[in-house]
Amino acid sequence: MTKTSWDGAQILVKSLEAQGIEYMFGIPGGATIPIFDALVTTGTKIKFVLTRHEQAATHMADGYARATGRPAAVLVTSGPGATNTVTGIMTAHIDSVPMIVVSGQAATHMLGKDAFQEADIYGMTMPIVKHSYLIHDTNHIPRIVREAFHIATTGRPGPVLIDVPKDISMAPFVGDPLAAMELPGYNPEAPAPDPATIQAIADALLRARKPIILIGHGVIISDACTAIRTLAEKIHAPVTSTLLGKGGFPESHALSLGMLGMHGTAYANKAMVEADLILNFGSRFDDRILGVPARFGRDAVKIHVDIDPAEIGKMLKPEIVCLGDARQVAEALLKVVGNPDTGAWIKHINALKKDFPLHYRRTGGLKMQHIIEELYTLTGGKAVVATDVGQHQMWTAQYWKVDRRNDWLSSGGAGTMGFGLPAAIGAQFGRRKDLVVSVSGDGGFQMTMPDFATACNHKLPIKAIVLNNSYLGMVRQWQELFYADRKSGVDLEGNPDFAKIAEAYGALGLRIKRAADVRKVLTRALEYDSGPCIIDVQVHKEQNVFPMVPAGKALEDMILEPRPRRGRPPVAARKK
């Protein structure tokens, strides 16, 4: 950044580059043409990826960040270009994913005058960003970009929006490209773990007979994985994770209970109910894992380790609170923990695993679980898996054991349908050598399906699996179980032939209709390397995900088994 005759757009691109941005996803428009031009004139190293929709661009940046731990940028135009990013920003925000969103904006003197494609994206996104900027002076650009990165990637990460009016990007830059940050109110450094609190946790652990470690996304973000594993092995405690904590502790480990919560494993939920100590690292005690907060861990000593003071006491009142970085806390704890007597507890846990395993019937139609299990076997679990949202997501979470951090990409807090495919695309850009699979439902897949083109253009060898039950399955399940099977607005009639969609893009389209074909077709997909493929898997239409803790119920109210289908009431529409 030595040349001084840059304009705003050019200094913006150079500043982003200086922060190590590798990829930028998005779509141009009037307000961003100067910035797109700067991508050319600066000869930047940043690779721009043209997407088909701005929402997909945000999920790509999100997937890239979750899979690599590094942020990517999104570049969109003003008005509709900017508003199309709202879902993706919200998805990243609630899951603490770093992201830089640069939006073009109408010229400064037109703001507030309903100019063409003027939208107050800065105002609209205020509650869903970690921070945001509307640039008022071209000379502020390098400082703002530096601040944006610092904010997005430190402490509890999150998205930062930078709104750039067109006159700002076109004006000459005469400022300091190395201008320092001005963030007097931002202190992301986690406080060093308080020794007295660490000792209190160690003492509580020593007294515990039935301890359980609960891990959330914080463990992955802070890379506390090794420390947590050593800790679990040392104190001999089982580990369960939230949907986003998957991969924070190897799920193939004997001490792993897999995921807990609404569709968690029966043994994880039962263990949670029985535990006398719950040691939570970096999970925000989300309502999908608590069930009823007042009934969660009623008799247990609850310990909450979190970097964000605003999470402490938000959902429940823990007995011990430890503010800090999950990794630093786990490492400090390792130095002082003793050996609690958990022999009987582990024995009991193993019995629970044996008595209440995940299971499904292989007969009576093709099951989603079968696909996930087979894929797991064929790949040895060595893949980055991005899911969409719905039944397929929960089965994938149950059956796909994640052993490494950053190998599991799922929209947890937001539950954003349409996340899976673009997240997988972003992940593959960041991890060229790794196998990347997206698992979507037929509903969510169609929300961002046009960006299959992006995967094709870049010949990304993604395996896009569509678990096709011709329904918005998860909603249909709720209607069946809690609304006397009155189906309303869930029938995805008119679905396309997804394999043919792939072919229309010149990509490989595969189809699975019978259990007998699963291995053969998945093998074919895994061998195919010259671009993306779609595997349209036509599964049983009316399967339900169990275990299930119904909304508003406590973990101990978990439903284990589907009720017999014979007794099902007739479909309301057919009554007449």
């Binding site: 105002g123 205020m126 970690k130 921070h131 945001s132 007097p184 109110g185 003071p309 605003a310 006491g313």
Partner: protein
């Protein structure tokens, strides 16, 4: 089962655009009604001070304070409810009053240390400064006259002695 009462917070913020909107969002989202809000400059040029009084449940307020502290442009945020602090506000009151009752109004004003800052044949504006209780008491007495306009600044606060606010 909400246990509402009034809290007085002092928030020190970097003087950046949007910071007020962000703080207001946090309160609105959690159902806290802001009763009064005073934004003013502070000793340092690029730092502003806000004094916010709001009605709501203390447990909820704890969350709000933490959320407000999390905002990038917020330097600190403290709840001064129940602390040893000086809290003052100012009120302007316009009373429609002719020559006949003027003396009585002025007596009330005098008692509360209020000044008359404008006077016409038929009206008068009083300016009162002090604790909210004092202002309330004065307003109560003035009610028997024709009070037509009232404007209060909202509370400003400062910790007593050497304690910083």
């Amino acid at each position: 089962m909400q246990n509402n009462f009034t809290h007085t917070l002092s928030v020190v913020v970097a003087n950046k655009p949007g910071v007020l909107a962000r703080i207001a969002h946090v309160f609105a989202r959690r159902g806290f009604n802001i009763d009064s809000l005073v934004v003013s400059s502070s000793m340092e040029g690029n730092v502003s001070r806000m004094t916010i009084t709001a009605l709501g449940d203390p447990a909820n307020l704890y969350q709000i304070i933490e959320q407000v502290k999390k905002l990038v442009d917020v330097i600190h945020c403290t709840d001064h409810t129940g602390e040893d602090v000086v809290v003052k506000e100012m009120a302007l009151v316009k009373v429609h009053v002719g020559p006949a009752a003027r003396t009585e109004v002025l007596q009330v004003a005098d008692h509360f240390g209020a000044e008359s800052v404008d006077m016409t044949e038929s009206s008068m504006i009083l300016m009162a400064v002090g604790d909210s209780d004092k202002l309330e008491a004065m307003l109560k007495l003035l009610r028997k006259f024709k009070v037509v306009e009232l404007c209060r600044t909202g509370k400003v606060l400062m910790a007593r002695g050497e304690l910083p606010t």
